[in-house]
């Protein structure tokens, strides 16, 4: 495992190992994404890594239209993680245009060649 002080390497290695890790400033409590050597805004460097719950809420969503022979339509969404940060991702397991703002979603990790492991989401089953 790379050093936690090499933010991008550490993040990617953790993702490959099945964990979504986020950085948090010990003094300010601010959790942020993407990995950096300091917290945005404050510049705080007293950072620790925390494991994300994987739960989040759809902040916005779009369906990117694409011809079927090129792979068909797909979803692109912004997800507000329960820990605070917002990330770009895709909601799967549902028609792309049925994803709704405010929908609760749960993360999983998948390989998206050639980019390596990435975070994807699926709707949380209604209770």
């Amino acid at each position: 495992m790379p050093s936690p002080d090499i933010p991008d390497d550490y993040y990617r290695a953790q993702l490959k190992a099945g964990r979504i890790m986020l950085q948090r400033s010990r003094s300010t409590g601010a959790v942020f994404f993407y990995p950096r050597i300091c917290a945005p805004g404050t510049g705080a460097t007293d950072l620790e890594w925390i494991e994300a719950s994987g739960l989040g809420t759809v902040y916005s969503t779009t369906t990117i239209r694409q011809r079927p022979e090129k792979g068909g339509d797909y979803n692109l969404a912004l997800i507000d993680l329960d820990e605070g940060p917002r990330i770009m991702s895709r909601v799967e397991g549902i028609e792309p245009d049925r994803v709704r703002i405010g929908m609760r979603v749960k993360a999983h990790i998948a390989e998206l060649p050639p980019h390596g492991e990435a975070i994807l989401f699926s709707p949380v089953a209604e209770a």
Partner: protein
């Protein structure tokens, strides 16, 4: 309390190239040079007078070097800052500072793109956004689609209201012989157009054209002696918010909120003083967002504000009077054309689309994924 720079410099020449929307077959620097020579001629100046050069480009990593060499000039002050399509509005402020501090005496701000001739490919020198590309965003439209979806969710903005923006732009373009798209367009046609990235259709998107544009600036004392009616820079200010759309704090509020407030404060004016409004309409949502953030209507009311032809010719506010990026011209980056249309309106040179008694014009540039915003306010001699 207005700013020291208010009215100290003016746009004294404007030039355009590649108008009409067709593929020119020219290279980006050819178009930049054509526009530059026209702007200098308009100003009654020559290339030999230019000692300040301001260029931004997606084609050139060192845009001022490439442009200066092509033009055969040796500027003593140059600035090639790249903040996307807002760059050219931002250059107005940098040029004003350079002129006022004596770093240059004649500033040329110029742009050229042959995006249409190159088959519509959006040239980008941008670094890949490594945390976004795995999800295959379609830059730039998917970022704007996400902002649109959120605005609709929070404020009840409708696709019909977005279509009103496209229709108004087309109606202005029909009054502009240089505009690329001059056939009538209905709201229904916009709604029935091919969906590209929900909720944005093809007709919610700006054009893909070639084009060049340039303006020449001098200090106000010299401007008064040049042939054309000067357009004085009364206020200009910017704001960066984010680079990637996922990093933008609130997709319904842009940095135009801050850039607009600062520009109005610098000019000592309010939105009610503005006679014509030129905002960067890369997508229909842009016009709505910027009318709200610049203070022409309350936040969330932009959709309702544009209804019933309110920003079309004869409406309550003249917005994007050349037809905008949606229907006039959009060569990769549109920012310089906003300023040129504002100047034409201030001079009274806008032909059939000329608005009566224009003394104050606002030109607002946007760059990236709603990333950078720059607001400029220009005025006639009466506003000094």
């Amino acid at each position: 309390m207005t700013h020291d720079l208010r009215g100290k410099t003016a746009i004294v020449g404007i030039g355009k190239a590649g108008m009409g929307g067709g593929a020119t077959g020219l290279q980006p620097l050819d178009l930049l040079a054509q526009a530059s020579l026209r702007a200098l001629s308009d100003a009654g100046l020559t290339l030999a007078d230019v000692d300040g050069l301001f260029v931004s480009s997606a084609y050139h990593g060192n845009p001022t070097l490439s442009a200066a060499e092509y033009l055969g000039i040796h500027p003593r002050y140059a600035n090639g800052s790249m903040i996307g399509g807002a760059s050219f509005v931002a250059h107005l402020l940098t040029a004003a500072m350079a002129l006022e501090t004596g770093q240059c005496d004649v500033a040329l701000i110029a742009y050229g793109s042959n995006q249409r001739s190159q088959g519509g490919r959006l040239i980008s020198l941008s670094e890949p956004q490594v945390y976004e590309v795995p999800y295959k965003p379609r830059f730039p439209i998917s970022s704007y689609a996400l902002a649109t979806a959120r605005h609709m969710h929070e404020y009840g903005t409708t696709r019909e209201q977005l279509a009103e923006v496209a229709v108004a732009a087309r109606q202005w373009a029909m009054l502009n012989p240089e505009a690329a798209m001059r056939t009538p367009l209905s709201r229904e046609e916009v709604l029935a157009s091919t969906m590209i990235c929900d909720p944005l259709t093809k007709l919610d998107c700006c054009l893909v054209t070639d084009g060049g544009a340039a303006v020449v600036m001098t200090r106000a004392d010299r401007a008064r002696d040049l042939p054309k009616k000067p357009a004085y820079l009364l206020g200009c200010a910017g704001e960066h918010t984010s680079r990637q759309i996922a990093q933008m704090e609130d997709l319904t509020v842009t940095g135009a909120l801050q850039s607009g407030r600062r520009a109005f404060a610098m000019a000592g004016l309010t939105p009610a003083d503005v006679d014509v409004v030129e905002v960067y309409d890369a997508f229909t949502i842009n016009t709505i967002l910027f009318l709200e953030d610049l203070g022409f209507c309350p936040k969330g009311e932009g959709g309702r504000f544009v209804e019933n032809g309110a920003i079309a010719p004869g409406g309550r506010l003249a917005v994007n009077t050349n037809g905008g990026g949606l229907s006039c011209i959009h060569p990769g980056m549109y920012g310089m054309f906003l300023v040129i249309e504002a100047v034409e309106q201030l001079r009274g040179e806008a032909g059939a689309r000329q608005q009566p008694n224009v003394n104050i014009a606002l030109a607002h540039g946007n760059g990236g994924a709603l990333s950078s915003q720059v607001t400029s306010i220009l005025g006639t001699a009466d506003t000094l």
